[in-house]
C-alpha cells in the first residue's frame, strides 16, 4: 500500500523533472553501452562489431527512453497537456468563435451561479444559528387578522413556556415595533432616529447568538422596574458610535431614558434578514412582560427543541397546551381563547417560516436558469458542429496518421473543457459583481438576502456545471466528427458535398430544440410578467402615487387620560394645520399604522342588536387615524370623515371598511348604525372601500378605524398628499415639525409608492430575473437559427449560383431560404408551445389573475418568437439572393 503511494508521488515529481531525469538516463545508457563494448572487445571483436553487438543487445535506445519516461511519469497528464497546448493554439487562431463561445457560456454559467447562490442562501443553507434545525416558529397558520393572530399575550407566553416540556428554551420578540421607534438624544444637535426591537430576555441565548462585546441580557433585566439596558447591532455600533471599543457599560439616551449598553452583537447576526426581510435593526432592548400584561397579543413565539424531540411531538404537545393558555390570567373567561377550528397553533421550523413561501418561486427560477444553460449548451454544440465541418479534413488527416478515435474525442473534449472553464471564470466574475450588488439591495424584501455570497458550495456548483456543460456540448460533435470516413473526407475537396448535409440535419434538430426551449422560457416569463402587471393594476383602496409619510414624535405627557387626549388633539391639529399650510401640500392626515406595514387587531366588535354564531365574526385590523387621513391616503369614503369635534366628551365613532360592513349589515347601508364592543356603543360614521392592508396580492380582510381623539394611537405616521415630488417637500415638512417639537428626529420621508414597491419586490425580483433569462434564451435561439441558415447558404453557394444561372430569380432564392427558416422556427415553436402548456400548469400557483393557458400571452410570445426567427433567417436569405452566379461558379 505504502509503496503504491510512494510510487504515485514519485511519478508526479518526475513529471516536473523531465529534463534532469532524461539527462541522467542518457548518461546511464551511455555507460551501459561502454560496458558492453568493452566486454565485446575483450571477446576479440573489432571495435565496430563490438559496438554493433552492444546496440543490438540493448534494443532500441529511443524505445528504452520512451518506456522509461512512461514508467516513471504520468503519460495521461502528458497527453492532456499536449491537447491543452494544441487547443489553446487553435482557439487563439479562431478568435471570433472563441469570443462568442466564452461570452455565451459566461452569461449562462454566471446566471446559474447567481441563481444558485440565491437559492442556496434562502432555501438550502441552514439559518445562520447553531443547530438551527432545532428552532421552531410557534403560531397559528397565517390569517386575515394579521400579526395579532400570529402572536401571544404576555400571560399566554409565560404559560406556554411553563407548560411545554419539548423545548430547551422558548423566546420571542415584540411583533409590533415600527421603524424609527427609538430616538437617540444627547449625541449632536438633533435627535437621531433608530429602530429597536424588544426581545424576551433569553432571545439571543435561545437562538445561540454570542455577543461580540460585553454580554447578553440577564433575567433580572426583564423584571418590572429594572434599569433599561440595550444591545447594539454591529452596524449601528460602527455607524453611530464609531465602533467605540469601550461602549459597554456606557449610558445612552433612548427616548429620553438613559439606558446602559450591555453589549454589541456580532456582525453575522442580522435580525432583519431573518425575521423581517429588508429591515435594518439598530438596537435590542429587553422586553419586560410584567409591564405589558394588558397589551394583548404582542409577542411571537420561537422555541428551540430539546435534542431528539421531533416537530411532530412538539406539535402534539402544543395542541394539548394551547387550550390552557389565557389571554389574561386575571380574566378567567379569556382562558382557552387560543386555538379553535382553523386557528390551532401550527408549528413550523423557523427555516420554513422564513423561506417556505418562496420555495416554489425559487425552484421555478432555478429551472428557468437551468433551461438557459441547456440552451447555451445546445447553441455551443451547434457552433462546434459548424466548426467541426470545417475541420473534417484536419481530423481525417490525423486519423490517417494513426490517431485513435478515443484520442480525437479526448482532444475535442479538452477543447470544450477549455471553453467551459473560460466561460465559468467569466461567469464567476459576473456573478461576483451581481451578488455583491444583490447583498445591498435592502429594497428587495427577500429573507437572508443580505447574507448572500459565493461560498464553497457555489464554487463547487460552478465547477460541476462547467464540466457537465463541457461534456454535454463537446461529446456530440466529438463522436460525430471522429466517426467520419477518412477516405471520403480526404477526397472531399470542397464545400457543398454530402458530408455537409449530414451535419446540417443534426444542426437543424439542435436549433429546433433550442427554439422550443426558448419558447417555453418566453411563455413562462410572459405569464409571470402578465401576472406582475395585474398585481400592479390591483386597486389597493388607496392612491400610493403623490403621497409620502414621515414618523412624527410628540410629547403627550399629562396627568390624566382625559388631559392626555386633549393635549394630543391639540398637538395633532397644530401639526396638521402647519403642514397643510406648506406650499404644495394638498392634504394631510395621521395614522398610527400604514397599510402594508405593521398591523394589529383588538377584539371583535359586533353590530348592535344582532347575534352571530361564535367564530363567524371577523376580528378587524385596527387603525387609529386623525381627520384628513382618508383624504391624504386617497381612500374612498362613503359617509363622513372623523372631525376634531369627535372627542372623549362626544359620542364614540368609528369607520369600517366595505367588507366588514357587508358582514355586519348585509344589503344595508352601515352608515349611522351602531357597533358594540361590549362596554360602549360605537356609531359608524363612514364606510371606506377595502384597502390592501396586509398584502398586495391577497384578498383584503376587515378593517376598523378609530379617531385618534378617542383612542390612543401607538405612534404617529404623518401622511401628506402633494402634486410635487414627495422628496421636494421633505425639508420643509421636517422644518415645520422641528419648530413644533425640537425633539423631532430626522426621520425618513418615505413615499407611499416605495411601501407598495417593497411589498411587491419579491415578485418584481423573480419576474425581472425570469424575463432576463427569457430574453437571453431568445437571443441564443436567434443566433442558432442565424447560424444554421447562414451556414447552409454558405454551403450551397455553388448550387444557388447554378440555379440562378439557370433562371431562378432573387425572389425564388429568398423564398426558398425563408421557407427553410420557417420550418425550423415553426417546428420549434409548436413543440415549445405544447411544453409551455405543461409548464404553465406547473407554475399556476405563482400566477396572479392570469390563467396558465392565457391566450394573449401565448399568442404574443409566439408572435415575438416568429418575428425574431424571420429576421434571423432574412439576413442570410438576402445574402443568398444577392449571390452573383458568375462569382459563385468561379469560386471553386
Amino acid at each position: 500500500m505504502i509503496d503504491s503511494v510512494r510510487r504515485a508521488v514519485n511519478r508526479l515529481l518526475s513529471f516536473f523533472r523531465k529534463e534532469p531525469l532524461d539527462q541522467e538516463l542518457n548518461a546511464e545508457m551511455a555507460s551501459h553501452l561502454e560496458f558492453a563494448i568493452e566486454e565485446n572487445l575483450k571477446k576479440g571483436m573489432s571495435r565496430e562489431e563490438a559496438r554493433r553487438q552492444a546496440l543490438i543487445r540493448f534494443g532500441g535506445i529511443a524505445q528504452a527512453r520512451q518506456q522509461h519516461r512512461e514508467t516513471r511519469g504520468l503519460p495521461v497528464l502528458d497527453v492532456f497537456l499536449q491537447d491543452l497546448r494544441f487547443t489553446l493554439r487553435t482557439l487563439r487562431r479562431d478568435r471570433a468563435f472563441t469570443t462568442v463561445a466564452v461570452l455565451i457560456l459566461g452569461l449562462g454559467i454566471g446566471a446559474n451561479v447567481v441563481v444558485f447562490s440565491v437559492v442556496n442562501t434562502i432555501l438550502l443553507r441552514p439559518l445562520p444559528f447553531p443547530n438551527s434545525h432545532e428552532l421552531v416558529w410557534i403560531a397559528p397558520p397565517v390569517q386575515k387578522c394579521g400579526m395579532s393572530c400570529e402572536t401571544y399575550s404576555a400571560d399566554a407566553f409565560d404559560q406556554f413556556r411553563a407548560l411545554s416540556k419539548s423545548y430547551q428554551g422558548v423566546t420571542g420578540y415584540m411583533a409590533f415595533s415600527t421603524a424609527d421607534n427609538l430616538r437617540l438624544t444627547g449625541r449632536g444637535p438633533v435627535p437621531v432616529p433608530a429602530t429597536g426591537i424588544e426581545v424576551i430576555g433569553n432571545f439571543f441565548q435561545v437562538l445561540g447568538v454570542q455577543p461580540a462585546l460585553g454580554r447578553l441580557f440577564t433575567p433580572e433585566e426583564t423584571l418590572h422596574g429594572a434599569h433599561p439596558v440595550v444591545l447594539l447591532t454591529d452596524h449601528w455600533w460602527r455607524r453611530q458610535f464609531a465602533a467605540d471599543p469601550a461602549i459597554v457599560g456606557k449610558e445612552i439616551d433612548l427616548n429620553g431614558t438613559p439606558s446602559t449598553v450591555v453589549g454589541v452583537l456580532p456582525a453575522s447576526f442580522d435580525f432583519g434578514a431573518v425575521f423581517s426581510p429588508g429591515a435594518k435593526i439598530d438596537a435590542f432592548t429587553a422586553e419586560i412582560l410584567d409591564d405589558e400584561r394588558t397589551w394583548g397579543n404582542i409577542v411571537t413565539m420561537i422555541g428551540r427543541l430539546k435534542p431528539g424531540v421531533t416537530l411532530g411531538q412538539a406539535q402534539a404537545e402544543g395542541l394539548l397546551v394551547e387550550p390552557h393558555l389565557c389571554w389574561s390570567v386575571k380574566r378567567p373567561e379569556s382562558c382557552g381563547s387560543y386555538g379553535g377550528k382553523g386557528h390551532s397553533m401550527q408549528l413550523r421550523t423557523l427555516k420554513d417560516y422564513v423561506s417556505g413561501r418562496l420555495r416554489r418561486s425559487l425552484i421555478v427560477l432555478w429551472c428557468a436558469v437551468g433551461l438557459i444553460l441547456l440552451i447555451v449548451c445546445v447553441n455551443l454544440s451547434n457552433l462546434l458542429l459548424a466548426r467541426a465541418a470545417s475541420r473534417t479534413k484536419e481530423f481525417a488527416m490525423r486519423t490517417a496518421l494513426g490517431a485513435s478515435r478515443s484520442r480525437l474525442v479526448r482532444q475535442l473534449l479538452t477543447e470544450s473543457l477549455v471553453l467551459s472553464s473560460a466561460g465559468a471564470l467569466l461567469g464567476l466574475g459576473l456573478a461576483f459583481t451581481l451578488i455583491a450588488w444583490l447583498a445591498h439591495q435592502g429594497s428587495i424584501a427577500l429573507p437572508l438576502l443580505s447574507s448572500i455570497r459565493i461560498d464553497a458550495s457555489a464554487l463547487a456548483w460552478t465547477i460541476l456545471i462547467a464540466i457537465a456543460a463541457a461534456a454535454f456540448f463537446g461529446l456530440a460533435p466529438g463522436l460525430k466528427m471522429s466517426s467520419g470516413n477518412v477516405q471520403e473526407a480526404l477526397k472531399d475537396s470542397g464545400p457543398g458535398t454530402s458530408e455537409g448535409r449530414k451535419h446540417e440535419r443534426v444542426r437543424s434538430v439542435l436549433v429546433i430544440s433550442e427554439v422550443a426551449l426558448a419558447c417555453v422560457l418566453l411563455i413562462g416569463a410572459g405569464l409571470l410578467m402578465r401576472s406582475f402587471l395585474k398585481v400592479l393594476d390591483i386597486d389597493l383602496g388607496f392612491q400610493p402615487e403623490h403621497a409620502a409619510s414621515i414618523k412624527v414624535e410628540y410629547d403627550d405627557d399629562a396627568p390624566t387620560d382625559e388631559a392626555k387626549a386633549a393635549k394630543l388633539s391639540v398637538i395633532f391639529q397644530q401639526i396638521l394645520e402647519r403642514i397643510k399650510a406648506l406650499p404644495g401640500v394638498e392634504a394631510a392626515g395621521m395614522a398610527d399604522f400604514l397599510p402594508l406595514g405593521q398591523n394589529r387587531e383588538w377584539g371583535t366588535p359586533t353590530p348592535k342588536g344582532k347575534t352571530f354564531a361564535p367564530g363567524t365574526l371577523p376580528g378587524p385590523l385596527v387603525y387609529v387615524i386623525t381627520p384628513g387621513f382618508v383624504e391624504a391616503m386617497g381612500m374612498r369614503l362613503h359617509g363622513r370623515d372623523f372631525a376634531w369635534s369627535d372627542n372623549l366628551k362626544s359620542e364614540p365613532v368609528v369607520m369600517i371598511n366595505a367588507s366588514a360592513a357587508r358582514v355586519y349589515w348585509p344589503g344595508e347601508d352601515a352608515v349611522g348604525k351602531f357597533l358594540t364592543n361590549g362596554s360602549q356603543d360605537l356609531r359608524v360614521v363612514g364606510v371606506v372601500d377595502d384597502i390592501h392592508a396586509d398584502t398586495v396580492e391577497g384578498q383584503p380582510g376587515w378593517q376598523i378605524y378609530y379617531p385618534a381623539t378617542q383612542q390612543k394611537p401607538a405612534g404617529i405616521q404623518l401622511v401628506i398628499r402633494t402634486a410635487l415630488p414627495p422628496t421636494a417637500l421633505a425639508g420643509s415638512v421636517l422644518h415645520a415639525l422641528r419648530e413644533l417639537n425640537p425633539k423631532q428626529p430626522a426621520a425618513e420621508f418615505r413615499s407611499i409608492r416605495t411601501i407598495v414597491d417593497r411589498a411587491v419586490s419579491p415578485r418584481r425580483f423573480f419576474v425581472l430575473l425570469v424575463s432576463i433569462f427569457a430574453e437571453f434564451g431568445l437571443i441564443l435561439a436567434t443566433l442558432g437559427i442565424y447560424g444554421v441558415i447562414s451556414y447552409s447558404v454558405a454551403q450551397q453557394t455553388q448550387e444557388i449560383g447554378i440555379r440562378m444561372a439557370l433562371g431562378a430569380t432573387q425572389g425564388h432564392v429568398l423564398r426558398e431560404v425563408m421557407r427553410k427558416t420557417m420550418i425550423l422556427a415553426i417546428t420549434g415553436i409548436m413543440l415549445g408551445t405544447v411544453a409551455s402548456v405543461v409548464v404553465g400548469r406547473w407554475i399556476a400557483s405563482l400566477l396572479f389573475g392570469t390563467k396558465p393557458t392565457d391566450p394573449v400571452t401565448f399568442a404574443g410570445m409566439v408572435l415575438v418568437m416568429m418575428v425574431v426567427a424571420l429576421i434571423a433567417g432574412y439576413i442570410p436569405a438576402r445574402r443568398a439572393a444577392r449571390i452573383d452566379p458568375m462569382v459563385a461558379l468561379r469560386g471553386n
Binding site: 510512494r6 511519478r11 538516463l25 551501459h32 518506456q67 522509461h68 514508467t71
Partner: protein, 117 residues
C-alpha cells in the same frame, strides 16, 4: 535453430532484478542485465534497455536505491542496491512464484497423463 527465447511475463523482470541485486549486492544496470542473461542461460529474450524501466519502477516503490559511483575498471556508472523493504518484497514475491510454478507444474503434468497422444 534451438528453442526460441522466452518472452518475459509482465512483472517477472522486476522480480529477477530484485533477486539479482539480493544475490550480487550493489550492481549497475549492465551488470544486472548480463547476470540475468547468464543465469537464464541466455534463454530469456531480454532487450537490455528494458531493464531501466524496471529499475525506475522499483526505485519509485522504494525497493531499491541508486547511487552514482565508479566501477572496478574506473568507469562512472549508476549502482543499484536492494533495500530492506525490497528484501521483504522479494521474499513475498519469490514464495508466490514458487507456489505458482509448483501448481502450474502439477496441473500441466496432469494433462499429460490424461492425454493419449
Amino acid at each position: 535453430m534451438g528453442e526460441s527465447k522466452l518472452d518475459l511475463l509482465q512483472g517477472t523482470l522486476d522480480l529477477m532484478v530484485l533477486q539479482t541485486l539480493a544475490a550480487m549486492g550493489s550492481q549497475h544496470g549492465y551488470g544486472i542485465a548480463r547476470r540475468i542473461e547468464q543465469v537464464s542461460g541466455d534463454a530469456v529474450l531480454l532487450n537490455q534497455g528494458t531493464i531501466y524501466a524496471s529499475l525506475v519502477r522499483l526505485q519509485q516503490r522504494g525497493w531499491i536505491s541508486a547511487e552514482w559511483g565508479t566501477s572496478d575498471n574506473n568507469r562512472k556508472a549508476k549502482f543499484y542496491a536492494i533495500t530492506a523493504e525490497g528484501r521483504k518484497q522479494l521474499a513475498e514475491d519469490a514464495a508466490y512464484w514458487k507456489r505458482l510454478a509448483g501448481v502450474m507444474g502439477r496441473v500441466l503434468s496432469m494433462e499429460q497423463e490424461g492425454g493419449n497422444s
